[in-house]
Each structure stands twice: as C-alpha cells, then as structure tokens.
Amino acid sequence: MTPPALTPVQAKRLEARRHRLQDPTLHLRLGVLLAFVLAPVIVPSFQVTDLLLKVALFATLVASYDVVIGYTGIVSFGHAMFFGFGAYAVALSLGKWGAPTYGHLLAGFGAGIVVSAVVAVLIGAFSLRVKALFFAMITLAFAEFALILAVQLSTVTGGEDGLSPKLPGVFAAAFDGGRLLGIPLTGRLITYYALLAVCVALFLLMSRFVHSPLGRTLQAIRDNELRAEALGYRTFVFQIISSSFASVVATVLGGGYAMWVRYVNPESTLGIPIMLDVLLMVIIGGIGTLYGGIIGAALLLAARTLLPDLRGLSASLFPGWEIVGRLSDRWLLYFGILFILVVFFFPKGVLGTIRERLSRRPPGRTP
C-alpha cells in the first residue's frame, strides 16, 4: 500500500522543516537574543537596559501590528489603544486596591486582555462587515475616543497626570536579592529578564500563528480577498480572529510597558504619537516580515535617544536664529518626510528589501 500522497503545501513544509537547522537566520535570531540577554550584565548602566527593553517591547508590539497590517492586510489605527488598555489595566489594578501583590498584577493583565478582546471583536464586527477599508477610519475614531475618555475620567485614570503604579515582590524597585555570580540582583534586573522572556514567548507565539494554516488563510485573504471568499473561507471571521489576536498581544505588551516604566499617562500609552511610531517602525523594518520590527524599533528608539543631543548642537551652531530653532524642534517633520521616502523607495522596508535581494541571488546549493 502506498503512503497517502502529500499535498504540495505539506510537502513544502516538510522540506522546510528538514532544513530548519541549516537556516542561517536562525543563528542570527539566536545571536540577537543572546545580545539582549547578556547586555545588562556586560554594560550595567540603566540607560542601556532601558533602551534595550524598550526596543524589545516595541519590536514585539510592531510584530503584533505586522500580523494585522502585513499578514492580514487591514490597516488599523487602534493598535496603540490596545497597548494603552494593557498599560492602564495593570497600572489601575496595582494602584487602586491597596498594597500590590502578584495577584493584582495577574488580575491586571487578565482584565486588560478580556477588555481588549471584547473591544477588538466589537470594532471588527462593526467595521469589517462592509469593507476592510473602513477599519482604518473607525479604529482611528475609537482610538481618539479612548484617549479622550482616559483624559476625562480623571478620578479613575488620573487624567493627564496619569498613574505611577508600584510593583509587587521581586519586581519592586526596592527589592534586593543579594548577588548572583557577582551581579547585583535588583528589582529592575529581574523585571528586565521577566519582560524579555514575555517578549520572546510572544514572538514565538506570533511566529507560530502566522505560519499556521490559519496564518496562511490570512495571507490568502490579504492577497486576494474575493478569491479566498470564493474558496469557501469566511474572510470576515478570519480578519476578526487576526485583529483580536494582535490586540491581545499588544495588551500584554502594554502591561509590560507599565511594569517597566512604572508610569502610565494618556499621551505615552494611548496617544496617536505611539501609533505613528509603531507605523513608522513597521514600515522601516518591513511590512509582512515579523522580525523587521526589531530593526525598526532599534533604529527609531536609538535615534530618539540621540536626538536631544543633536538639538543642542544645532542651537549652539546657530544662536539667535529662531527659524533654525523651530526647524530642529520639529523632529516630527523629519519623521513625516522619512515616512514618505521610505514608503516611496523602500516599500518593503529594510528586512523586506534584504530578503528580496537574497531570494533573487542564484541559489548556491540545490536544496
């Protein structure tokens, strides 16, 4: 009896699995991870660890956004809103009910996830019924609404001033676990590794998600919605699953961000600026690459930390020139120009362009 014939997709996947360990990018990924793990030990400065963890959090956030925009092909402007939901849920849960415990922390994450999932499904149900195109407008409106709500309900959310939660147990700033192999175990360090682990886990989860049969269906919808529908897939349901999954991931990251920064306000978690950052990161890194977010986040956040120095430089070079001062003040202008240029000339982003070049190169050995 002959074994059952494999479908082309199954055969291809089997082939890919056989060569998994020979994949050069696997070593690259492991190298990046190793750098993230070792960096705070080698360079024990707060600025470095702060930048690294923000890169990790934002890279994962950008990847989750990529699941929606790059793998499903729907543009959402509400992704930062879900990030903010997570941040607020954790901050509120830790701050409002007495001394913080691990239970409060978990409850905060749980509540944020539930709220985000419900809101994401509802928004999807309203807007995806007609056209995925509506999604951009409606999510923008909802994000604005959430921002106004956070500012207005100042008795709960602290309004513009925001909240500064205190963390429980080993995550607390005052925690001191002595020394391990000569490295001081502070609350900061433990939080760093815990959140790094969360980011890695979420990355693996998303990678699994987009490479699963479900993820393939999403890519089919992205490439040709009518055809996917004609093949019998309920595109509407798949789009809702994708956007809610990504929203939940963003919520967890928002909670992580609140744990690391220990400060939550509308501007820094819910606002449109965060959304613009994420959009720019995903475009620089490459839409539909998942790992491009690491490049985008690293470039943008590094530039952001270096920018104040540049501003001081230009002020000392042209003293008394108001227009120059204004020009260097408006860094968002250069963001906008960069944004347009990247969309024009590198529509695939850094990683997308590299991948395209590599795949165009004649294969060295036949697989």
Partner: protein, 324 residues
C-alpha cells in the same frame, strides 16, 4: 419608502431633544448644531468626493483644513493689522476681508492639493495600504510646516465686526457666524449638486466613478479630472478650515486632525461617495453633538461614536451608500 427612511430617522432625532429643554434653548442649540454640521460637511464633502472618484483614502485632508484656516488667518491678520478692516464697523471692509480670506484660503489649498496629488498620491493609486500610509506622512509634514511657519501655539483669529455678535429673532439669540456658515454650506451643497448633476464636467466625473477606464477610452484624460477633483476637495477643506477658524475665533495647528475624525465618521454615516449623505450625516453629527453637549457635557464625543455604530449596525453601507 426605503429611500426616505434615513430622512425620517434624521427628523426624529432632530425633534427628540425637545422633550428635555425649553424651546428657546432648543432653537439656539439647533442653530449652533446646524452651523457645526455645515462646517463638518465642507470637510466631509471634499473627503467623499476624493474617495468616491479616486478611491483614495486621504488622511492629509485634515492638514489641508488647517492650512486653509492659517492661510485665511494670515490674510485677515495682515489686512486687519494694516488697515483695521476687521475691527472697522464698515460692512464693505468686512466683506472684502472675508472675501480675500476665502479666496486666499482656497488658492493655497488648491495649490497644496495639486502638489499632493501629483507628487504623493499619483504613484500609489489602487494601493489602499500605501495611500493611507503616505497621506498620513504628508499630513504630518503639512502640519509640522504650519508649526514652523506660524509657531505651535493657538492664535486669535480676527473676525469681521459685522458678523460678530448676534441677532434677536423673536426672543431667540441667533449668533451671526453660524448663520453665515449655514448659508455658505447650503450654497456649496447646491453648487456641488448642480455641478455634478447638471454639467458636462459633472457627467464625466460621475461616469469616472462608475468606470474610469471607459472614460479614458472615450478620449477624456481621467488624470486631469483626478487632479481637478482632488484640488476641489482640498479647496472645500480649506474653506471649511477658514470658517471653523472664524467660528471658534482661533487657529491651532492640530485643528484639522480633530475635524478629520468627525469628517471620517460623517463619511461613514452618510455612505462613501454620496454628497447628500455627507450633508445629512454632518447635520446629524453637528446637531446631536450640540444637544448632548448641553444635556450631558461629558458624553458629547461618545454620542458621535454611538451614532456611527448605530448607523453601521442598521445600514452597513451608510445612509446613502451603495454596496460596492
């Protein structure tokens, strides 16, 4: 019957708040709401024109709104500063000032619109994702340019003395600026309807909505019409911005972004590509916002969202939209 349903809903909504307030407050709020609706209509009409014909989601529309406001503001401030045209009680000077501001606001936004269409939008026709991204980038640049040229802070808009203050009509306080805005909005709506339905250009534009390729086969340069429609939509945004600046007596760089959200909601409520839908949607948003802002101030933004959600639940294509 089905075609009248949206109108009946709008009328019912219009009369509902009478149960919660006295007639005089109601009329004052209604005038204010109509004015706000008309101003939103100007923005939304341009947006829906651009979307309807060119299938372009223009996120830079709000920035054009701000540019119109600032261009008008610059003219008004200049004329008022040199000859005091806004402060003087002379009707002729006031009218000249208003006319000059409107003309300059439109001219500036038309130029910006043409540049935007030629440079930014043309390479990405048919790719919605990139359209959204690139027009978003353009809106950031345009808004930042305003901040560089005029500074980042609020500024006071000089308003002509003639249209300041209010009339007393049968004990009802009728502010003059809203009346001007309503008049202008109605005139523009009538003009758009005439242009679209009664002229050859309108015929070609409407045919272009249906089938752009066929129009090209018939020997019309559709790209030229695209540029024209984009410029017209931009001019509408510019006038809307100027009127909003006069209405609120101030200009801010971020004013366009806030109005853009309203405009999106209106376009969704009214149905994509329908000018009449935009008018009805804008009036519904303007009126309900004013009524609720008076009754329950904190829920004012929420009611707009609620309106959108309800309309989408009942009619997923919007009030006057057709399924594409």
């Amino acid at each position: 019957m089905k075609a009248r349903a949206p109108l009946a809903v709008a009328l019912a909504l219009l009369l509902l708040p009478l149960g919660f307030m006295d007639l005089r407050t109601y009329l004052t709020l209604t005038v204010a709401g109509l004015a706000m609706g008309m101003l939103i209509f100007l923005v939304a009409a341009g947006l829906t024109l651009i979307f309807g014909l060119m299938d372009v989601l223009n996120f830079a529309h709000g920035a054009l709104f701000s540019w119109g406001a600032y261009a008008g503001f610059a003219v008004a401030a200049l004329l008022n500063g040199r000859w005091g045209w806004a402060a003087s009680p002379s009707v002729a000077a006031n009218a000249l000032l208003l006319a000059a501001a409107i003309v300059v606001a439109m001219a500036v936004t038309v130029v910006l619109g043409v540049l935007l269409e030629r440079i930014i939008v043309r390479p990405v026709y048919g790719q919605h994702l990139f359209q959204i991204l690139i027009t978003l980038g353009a809106s950031i640049v345009l808004e930042e340019l305003i901040r560089i040229l005029w500074g980042p802070n609020d500024q006071v808009m000089p308003v002509p003395a003639t249209i300041q203050g209010s009339w007393d009509v049968a004990d009802v306080v009728v502010l003059r600026v809203p009346v001007v805005a309503i008049g202008l909005g109605l005139a523009i709506y009538a003009g758009m309807q005439l242009l679209l339905n009664r002229t050859r250009i309108g015929l070609i534009v409407r045919a272009g909505v249906e089938n752009g390729e066929m129009i090209q086969v018939m020997g019309h340069n559709i790209h030229r019409y695209f540029t024209g429609v984009f410029a017209a939509g931009s001019a509408l945004a510019g006038v809307g911005g100027l009127m909003w600046a006069i209405f609120s007596q101030s200009v801010r760089p971020g004013m366009g972004g806030e109005q853009l959200i309203f405009a999106f909601i209106v376009v969704i409520i009214g149905g994509l590509g329908s000018v009449t839908g935009s008018l009805v949607g804008a009036l519904m948003v303007g009126l309900s916002y004013n009524y609720v802002a008076y009754l329950v101030p904190k829920a004012a933004i929420g009611v707009t969202m609620a309106l959108m959600v309800i309309v989408l639940l009942l009619r997923p294509t919007g009030l006057y939209g057709t399924a594409k």
